[in-house]
Symmetry: C2
Subunit: 271 residues, 2 copies
């Protein structure tokens, strides 16, 4: 299969592909959101994983970032470098997973690049949009705010299917004071939110996925639930887990004890 | 160095990085252009290459696509997977090359992802913009149009520095009937333009880079000059190389002889 054949094949399902760039309308009165996430063989998945699940997850990771900003996904670029072992059947499966989630979230596939490498690498860019000036940031949490998550935690060992919380994110616009998604474990991600806001965070309790331990819920990655704060008087969806307090910026405590940041750090886990 | 430290370091030069997504204004009354290009060790560069040149080229390849549409680059996402051999000094050099070209073209670094792989992989996404409905496409060439390139050709053996032809692209808005950039050799890329337009193309002569042969100019890749067509009565910048004719869609001829498509095809050159 040559590149033009592959592109023709992809194009049937992505009418925007074909020129040097995708050309799409710019949404009026909205800010644009950009995010991009690698999904790499040996780092984010193993060769044994089902191709459709790899494609689904690659898209889900980027959509979760759009959800964390309260945005609506618009356009997506899916680039991949084929490995020597990835055959046409595997790529078809990968694309089935990609399209399943794009369809569900009304995100248009606008293009991507194709190449080859010694391991399979995909990079998924999503452009979303949000009403001008309304994006949810990490930096607005204030002492007295309550702290929430969008669902039970437990990390990659217990998370079966990632559901990007786009609906929750949109409901938080104008209500949440800070928001982000939990990709590297709540201990590390809450530390980041608290540090960006210049506050400390106190967790009282954590909702657990079936079979997960508290340690896994605190430190394992890949929950892709939203983590957010709102003033006590504001009603928001989700599960209350604690509150924002004065204290050393970035400090995270669980029932009074400081929680170390053991979450997944992509550079400390270099293989 | 951990991920947060690396991100803090990058952030100093890219104030938009920090939240789950970059948040940027949407340009009013313009279409958005999206393009993304991998630059992969062993495919697009070797370990012996200067880091700054790798960074510069990674950005130049995507900017050339924006130029080909007549667009103005706006925002850029630079993602990279570090290889075991890429040290801090190499990454600093890589970023020097990236920033050199971003500064020159007034393109804002809006984010990116970081990971690791067995070879160095970078993916550069550029979002550009162009007046609504005015983007230059590959599909508008008509018999009788004249055929142009923005500069002499010869391919990667002779091309020292890639200069994305953003200025030329913008001057072609409202004038050129079709346009693309030459990344895989003019024989293959002109075939693509002619096929997209449903016409044939006849080359009379080709301007050559110093020391380049006609074969290299026809078939080697990485020229990154623009290739475009315009009606005879319309004045456009560049060097005239031939004309668009009736004939088998996609056929390319040089002085009457059919030219085979020997240009760089990323899938036929799989290592």
């Amino acid at each position: 299969m040559n590149e033009d054949t592959l592109i023709r094949k992809l194009r049937r399902r992505a009418p925007l592909i074909g020129d040097d760039c995708a050309v799409v309308p710019s949404p009026a009165n909205e800010d644009l959101l950009f995010t991009t996430d690698f999904t790499i063989e040996g780092v984010h998945f193993t060769r044994e994983a089902a191709a459709a699940e790899v494609g689904y997850k690659a898209v889900a990771r980027s959509l979760s970032d759009i959800a964390a900003m309260g945005g609506r996904p618009r356009y997506c670029l899916v680039s991949f470098a084929l490995a020597p072992w990835t055959d046409q059947r595997w790529i078809d499966g990968f694309y089935r997973g990609v399209h399943k989630l794009l369809r569900k979230t009304k995100t248009a596939l606008a293009g991507g690049d194709t190449s080859h490498a010694s391991q399979f690498v995909t990079d998924v860019m999503v452009c979303g949009s949000v009403a001008t000036g309304k994006a949810l940031l990490r930096s607005g949490a204030r002492p007295g705010d309550l702290l929430y998550v969008s669902g039970p935690l437990g990390g990659w060992r217990h998370k079966r299917v990632i559901v990007p919380r786009l609906d929750v994110g949109r409901k938080l616009i104008g209500k949440a004071t800070a928001c982000m998604d939990i990709s590297d474990g709540i201990s590390l991600d809450l530390h980041r939110l608290a540090a960006a806001s210049g506050v400390a965070a106190a967790i009282d309790s954590l909702p657990l996925l079936d079979g997960a331990t508290l340690e896994q819920a605190l430190h394992d990655g890949e929950d892709y639930e939203l983590l957010y704060t709102a003033p006590a008087r504001v009603r928001v969806p989700g599960i209350r887990i604690g509150s924002i307090v004065k204290g050393k910026p970035g400090r995270v405590s669980f029932r009074g004890k400081t929680v170390p940041q053991l979450g997944y750090d992509h550079f400390q886990h270099r293989s």
